[in-house]
Amino acid sequence: MSNEIAILGAGMHPWGKWGHNFVQYGVAAAREALADAGVPWQDVKFVSGGATIRCGYPGFVAGATFAQALGWQGAEVNTSYAACASGSQALAAARNKILSGECEVALVVGADTTPKGFLAPAGGYRPEDPDWVRFYLGITNPTYFALYARRRMDLYGDTLQDFAAVKVKNSLVGSKNPRARYRKCFTAEDVAASAMVADPLRLMDICATSDGGAALIVSSLEYARKIGKGNAPRVAAISTVTPTFASGVLEMPDIATDSAAAAGVEAHAYRSTIPLKAYEEAGIGPEDISLAEVYDLSTALELDWIEDLQLAPRGEAAALLRAGDTALGGKIPINVSGGLACFGEAVPAQALSQICELTWQLRGQAGDRQVQGAKVGITANQGLFGHGSSVIVKK
């Protein structure tokens, strides 16, 4: 298919709270991806970076920052910022460059260093800033995840035990991932003993923020064949669609949804629209998916994603979980990397880390986490301000 590009290499700096400069993580991930691909740095003609907004000017021009750190060699650069979807948008830029024939092989890389403590908004009296408004009124990030979780309980009958079971499942498989930050196997009792943050979510239901870096080397199919890697996993689709008015779901940092009062306007749930374009572009349906890496900012959110990806009918993800179908060895394993539960969120690297995991899984190189016979994988994530993405990788 003319829309496909090859993934020749994948690399990650382990997630953690290392306290180093983000550039160091990005360079480590890029070097690992280059070595994995067997592609010399000098041959990379496009560097596409995911921006970090927490690390000053070098973070705003991350593509150039990484290119300089790896040694200027004349490659063109790009930097993408799309919140949690930054890595996917950076990958889409590289794909465009490759499919247009302007470059054969590209590096896509994202890395982040998170500050210690809360990221509070600027002070003063600033009611024009929705982030200021919601904190002033006592609405924090966990509020939104808890609202989604509570709707699952009241509408579908999900329980606290279900949410804890997601954590137990992900921590078990994540304990086998050397790149994960949290590698302890937690029990349902551990989750139940952790402090309630925003009912029904406890501390262990909610993901942390981490340092980390992830990188991919991608190329035209022709280049892949030329270097003897014609069988490399391929990016079959990238969706970075924005929402459709009117959004009927309360989204961080807003205090209200859109109004769907106008004639001809319907309320939409953004998350479920993100994978639609990916499925259509790849010519692949939910029934073809072997595994998925989804953005489990909370345990309950993993269940929402399973339904948004149409891997279960609406309201039935918990039944899949209870049957063991979403665990390693189940019918449709979800987050066999360990997910955000084991990694913590490193925003510009996270979407790429999801694709790294799919790459290793599709090559059969995931070791103790290997999904047998994995052929097609899908990622999904959603962040602030109408940014979200879904990427399909296939053999």
Binding site: G138, T140, R150, L250, A262, A263
Partner: protein, 144 residues
């Protein structure tokens, strides 16, 4: 509570009467409501209107979802000492077809709430300053 004057925590976002309303705007072309107020452009992709008027939003609706805050939020939130957890609800307004978030009145917990429960808007203190008491909108179960 002291005898300090009651003033809105955020100026112009709600009326101050006993049965208060949130103040939004409505597009005069397509009928879309906005809260907070939007008077410069219409976000309906089918509409290019620049004509808006202020409207009082419905003061009753049904719970879309709910949670609570077990820990003190960071500034600009001003917490009581000691911090008292409070419930939070998103309430769906029928006419406006939108969900609006707010705290739930003091003394109620998540055990008192349910998706679909009828709620109404009231005013309660958010915090106190040297000069006045800042009040804001909160949701409370609709008196039957």
């Amino acid at each position: 509570m002291s005898s300090k004057p009651l003033v809105p925590a955020i100026e112009g976002w709600h009326t101050m009467e006993a049965k208060p309303h949130l103040i939004g705007t409505q597009c005069q072309d397509c009928g879309t409501y906005f809260f907070p107020k939007q008077s410069d452009y219409c976000r309906n992709p089918e509409c290019e209107s620049t004509d808006f008027c202020e409207v009082e939003l419905s003061r009753t609706g049904k719970v879309w979802s709910y949670t609570n805050a077990c820990y003190k939020p960071p500034a600009p939130f001003v917490a009581q000492e000691p911090f008292v957890p409070y419930a939070i609800a998103g309430v769906q307004l029928e006419t406006e077809q939108m969900v609006i978030l707010g705290q739930v009145i003091e003394g109620l917990t998540v055990d008192d709430l349910k998706v679909g429960m009828p709620m109404e808007l009231v005013l309660q203190p958010l915090h106190e300053t040297d000069d006045d008491i800042k009040v804001t909108w909160k949701w409370q179960p609709l008196a039957q």
